[in-house]
């Protein structure tokens, strides 16, 4: 069964229709890359899936269960929204780290706040905190930042910041981790370290959806590539097929343009 299924998602901002009915699905442990030119709706799709925007219509299913229904006009309560949100993680293009906290605190903040809501928090305060710290340290080690636990974001390079932001998202153990152009805000020589981390996560079978402009990377890491243009999915398929043998003219055109760069 698909872990995530998106059906006919639409979203307009004023008169501009950004998503015109986007559908795709993915299995647990898969990596899906979404490619397409700027303005094709990739980022909006991610923001809708993460409830940063409310889609106008369409459905999102998680593990086959209706998770979001655009037709349902009832306002989702803040508590319910939070519960849903925690199934997903999102890595932003420009990191959005909390500048006043050091690396380990950036990663620990959200899990600590969640832990405080647990009924057994008061009795097992110390153990819980230790567990969260251990988990945060493990994750930071996975992204290669064991040396930087007590640095502040302003002391890190862009690549390191993005790795902290990946660790911060992973700390909440999301079912699906979304990346919104994770290397676009980075200098070209720093993109490699992020792509390496994502590749490693793919090997560990973290379920990921990656919006990216790095075609070669997408080809290497993904189980499936989705090509979007003008608010619709034009073509999707396994990377070798879609990149080497695109069926649609628009896909071909886009890949050609990317190649010329």
């Amino acid at each position: 069964m698909a872990i995530l299924e998106i059906q006919n998602l639409t979203k307009s901002f004023g008169k501009t229709e950004v998503l015109k009915g986007v559908s795709f699905s993915m299995e647990e442990g898969e990596v899906v890359s979404i490619i397409g030119s700027s303005g094709s709706g990739k980022t909006t799709l991610l923001r809708c899936a993460n409830f940063l925007e409310r889609a106008d219509s369409g459905q999102i299913y998680l593990d086959g269960e209706l998770f979001f229904d655009g037709a349902d006009n009832k306002k989702i309560s803040a508590t319910e929204l939070r519960q849903k949100q925690l199934n997903f993680g999102l890595v932003f293009q420009d990191f959005n780290l909390f500048p006043q906290y050091n690396v380990i605190d950036n990663v620990m903040l959200a899990p600590m706040l969640l832990a405080k809501e647990r009924e057994d928090y008061k009795q097992n305060k110390k153990e819980i905190e230790q567990e969260i710290r251990k988990n945060a340290e493990d994750i930071l080690e996975r992204v290669g930042l064991s040396e930087k636990l007590h640095s502040y974001p302003c002391e890190l390079s862009g690549g390191q910041k993005q790795r902290v932001s990946i660790a911060r998202a992973l700390a909440l153990k999301p079912r699906v981790l979304f990346f919104d152009e994770p290397t676009s805000a980075l200098d070209p020589e720093l993109t490699g370290e992020i792509l390496k981390v994502i590749r490693k996560l793919a090997e560990e079978h973290v379920t990921m959806v990656i919006v990216t402009h790095e075609i070669a990377f997408a080809q290497g890491v993904s189980d499936k590539i989705v090509f979007m243009a003008d608010g619709v999915v034009v073509e999707e398929g396994p990377p070798e097929e879609l990149i080497e043998n695109p069926k649609e003219e628009r896909t071909r055109h886009f890949l050609q343009k990317m190649n010329e760069k």
Binding site: F51, L52, R82, L86, L90, F92, N96, L97, L113, Y152
Partner: protein
């Protein structure tokens, strides 16, 4: 008259200034934060009501506000205000809260939207996002304008004398009437020293908050 008794009389007066200063700060800062939420409210009537309130308070002299708080309740509703100090504190707290609210609003609105969005996708409530992530960054950004207001407040406390609250300048004027001018001039020293200490304190706070950039 003896030098010592004049100085101690001035100290008594300055104690009143310090009291007005401390109480105003204590109450106007949190009230200012609440007013700033009002002026950023999505619900339009609250927003415009708050904005009008801030406009009136910032648009009229504090001296006039002191008179209004002191005498208007008695004249309009026949409930005279029971103590002059209460009137002073009400006028000062409202006036400074209005100014602080604008500083808070500017600070809060300067925090990038991405900070809130990061909190949201990490499952934080709006309260947690504000108090655990945003507020601290706001404080760092507003230390300088707040310190400006606070220093102005120290000097404004002497306005209390217009409704006969015996602050330092009013105390000094009693000696002027007896032909001694230096006590009045010397009050400047009290303000200077107090503000000097505050300047150092704010410099220290700024330095403490300088451990990160952004």
């Amino acid at each position: 008259m003896e030098f010592q008794s004049i100085v101690s009389s001035l100290f008594e007066g300055f104690y009143v200034n310090c009291f007005i200063f401390a109480m105003t700060l204590l109450m106007a800062l949190p009230l200012g934060l609440i007013i700033s939420f009002g002026s950023m409210a999505k619900f339009k009537p609250i927003k415009w009501l708050t904005k009008t309130f801030v406009w009136i308070i910032r648009g009229t002299p504090l001296m006039l506000q002191l008179f209004v708080v002191m005498y208007a309740p008695g004249i309009l509703f026949e409930i005279p205000i029971n103590s002059r100090m209460t009137a002073v504190l009400i006028a000062f707290v409202i006036n400074y809260a209005a100014y602080f609210s604008e500083i808070f609003r500017g600070g809060i609105e300067s925090i990038p939207k991405g900070q809130y969005e990061a909190c949201q996708v990490l499952g934080m409530t709006k309260m947690q996002a504000f108090f655990k992530v945003v507020l601290f960054q706001v404080i760092k950004r507003i230390v300088a304008p707040i310190s400006n207001e606070v220093i102005t407040l120290v000097k404004d406390t002497s306005l209390a004398r217009v409704i006969s609250v015996a602050e330092i300048i009013m105390c000094a004027e009693r000696f002027t009437k007896k032909g001694l001018i230096w006590p009045l001039f010397s009050t400047g020293i009290y303000f200077l020293i107090f503000n000097g200490v505050l300047t150092l304190l704010f410099g220290y706070i700024e330095k403490k908050l300088d451990y990160y950039k952004g």
